[in-house]
């Protein structure tokens, strides 16, 4: 099993599935549930993203982007310039930029697209990830 032991470096960190949906904006006055990011990352109890856990398990911090009538895409969550970068495809420079905010339900998060346009998102749900390998001690 890949890096199984490193999951448990801190008991206060656990891997979550965080869904962000497009929030109200002039273009979408009611927001849009069909425009979403699904983040898979380690969160501390207070909702902050655990950098250390991500560094230990880089390949596991993933993001899926669901956008109305576009193909689903799978990307990586990478730390860059004091922010988080959601990178899709092979182009490592172009990505979505996410501020270092805490992820708690209902929190507003502003995400900047590769085109520089900022869109408002909202944390819809935070769910524990399905059985990750547990570490028998």
């Amino acid at each position: 099993m890949l890096h199984a032991s490193s999951f448990d470096h801190d008991a206060r960190v656990s891997w979550k599935s965080v869904r962000l949906e497009l929030a109200r904006s002039p273009e979408f006055p009611r927001g849009s549930a069909s425009r979403a990011f699904l983040l898979r990352l380690p969160l501390c109890n207070d909702g902050s993203i655990d950098c250390e856990a991500i560094n230990l398990n880089e390949s596991q911090a993933t993001v899926r982007r669901f956008w109305a009538s576009e193909p689903d895409s799978l990307g990586k969550i990478v730390r860059s310039d004091g922010e988080w970068s959601l990178r899709f495809g092979s182009d490592t420079s172009a990505g979505f930029r996410m501020p270092d905010d805490k992820l708690v339900v209902d929190q507003a998060i502003s995400i900047q697209g590769p085109d520089g346009v900022e869109l408002p998102f909202r944390v819809i749900s935070i769910a524990p990830l399905g059985r990750l390998p547990s570490h028998a001690s």
Partner: protein
């Protein structure tokens, strides 16, 4: 707008529709001609995890995984333009996506109706996660039994073949030896004639041996396959829906990447779906113990007149001790199962003139690939 009889007033029919939507056990999703959601039943809210207020006005493609998500607008447009029914009134098994990102198998039936001048489509969505589980297992058992039956038949066939082949081969050897002996020393005209006869006989016997081998090959290459031109993307979508049955709780990321150049294949649909479900379920089984569970199904055009299909998992990989005989019957690394799945896959793929193999995935896991003939090259 002229309407026959006295239709219920707008608000009456609206209330009537609401009451139906609230009580039907199957999820019902009503969309307009362009795919935008008009109403979403209580069962649909539960099934997909969205409230009706959140999805009304959204494109219904939000409830589908790729590749249907990006293609659905095209499906509707195609139907508006051609009237060709691919799902309306027919129904099919496909895959849906829950708000939590997971996909699950559904049976979808779609009805069409005109409300005044407006056309609407009503989708009835039935979650078949549990029903399919039992059916799939049954189907598996039948396939395994049929295959095991074939293998034991083959074993007895092989022993009688060995016996049958022995005769012509012995004869060939005898004739050749006597020909050589006759020609030893200074060959007379008679001796040359005798040798010629002996070699003729040897050739006849060799041909007989060839016929016996051909009979065996015919037996193995399933005479009963029923090849037609099929859409590979549809085969994959359906097989994937079936194979994902019961895997929802494992939270597997499924990605389907299709090469549109490589869609039409000339295959036996049932057999190829059997190969796909087999490989996909192997992949799921292999990932249960992994922390990353990502399944990718990819098609690419080539080589030559073939299409290559790859099923990639991020599981534990294949044990080196099992790898060399992986496609042989009764070889398995699983605690349960008879180990005939991959051998069935190989029989089917080779019966189509294709090839099946596996590779280690960089970063852990396995990639199973196989080739199928494109429909451009129909024998």
């Amino acid at each position: 707008m002229d309407q026959p009889a006295s239709p219920p007033s707008g608000s009456d029919s609206e209330a009537h529709l609401r009451s139906i939507l609230a009580t039907v056990p199957d999820a019902m999703v009503v969309i307009d001609e362009t795919g935008h959601i008009l109403s979403f039943s209580a069962a649909a809210e539960k099934l997909f995890g969205y409230a009706e207020s959140e999805v009304v006005g959204e494109n219904v493609s939000m409830l589908m995984p790729s590749p249907d998500r990006e293609r659905h607008d095209g499906y509707l447009k195609n139907y508006r333009n051609t009237g060709e029914r691919k799902i309306i009134g027919i129904g099919r098994v496909t895959t849906a996506r829950h708000r939590d990102g997971n996909t699950f198998p559904i049976e979808l039936s779609v009805g069409e109706a005109w409300v005044g001048a407006r056309r609407i489509f009503t989708g009835f969505v039935h979650d078949i996660t549990h029903r399919q589980q039992a059916e799939l297992r049954l189907q598996d058992l039948q396939a395994e039994l049929a295959h095991v039956g074939r293998i034991s038949e083959m074993a007895s066939l092989a022993s009688s073949l060995a016996h049958e082949l022995n005769q012509p081969l012995t004869a060939v050897a005898n004739y050749c030896e006597s020909g050589r002996d006759v020609l030893a020393g200074k060959p007379t005209v008679d001796a040359i004639e005798t040798a010629r006869e002996a070699f003729d006989e040897a050739a006849q016997e060799a041909l007989r041996a060839g016929q016996i081998v051909r009979r065996l090959r015919d037996f193995m290459s399933h005479g009963e396959s029923d090849c037609r031109v099929e859409s590979l993307s549809r085969l994959i979508t359906e097989a994937n829906a079936l194979a994902l049955v019961g895997s929802r709780e494992h939270g597997i990321d499924v990605q389907i990447q299709l090469d549109h150049e490589a869609d039409a294949v000339f295959v036996d649909r049932i057999q190829v779906q059997q190969v796909l479900t087999n490989l996909i379920r192997n992949a799921i089984d292999a990932m249960i113990g992994s922390s990353v569970r990502s399944l990718t199904i990819r098609t690419t055009a080539g080589p030559d007149d073939f299409v290559t299909v790859c099923v990639e998992d991020t599981g534990a990989g294949i044990d080196e001790t099992v790898a060399p005989q992986l496609f042989q019957p009764f070889v398995t690394s699983k605690a349960t199962g008879m180990g005939v799945g991959l051998s069935i896959c190989r029989t089917i793929v080779e019966g189509h003139g294709g090839r099946i193999w596996f590779e280690q995935r960089p970063g852990g896991g396995t990639i199973f690939c196989f080739t199928l003939p494109t429909a451009g090259e129909v024998q």
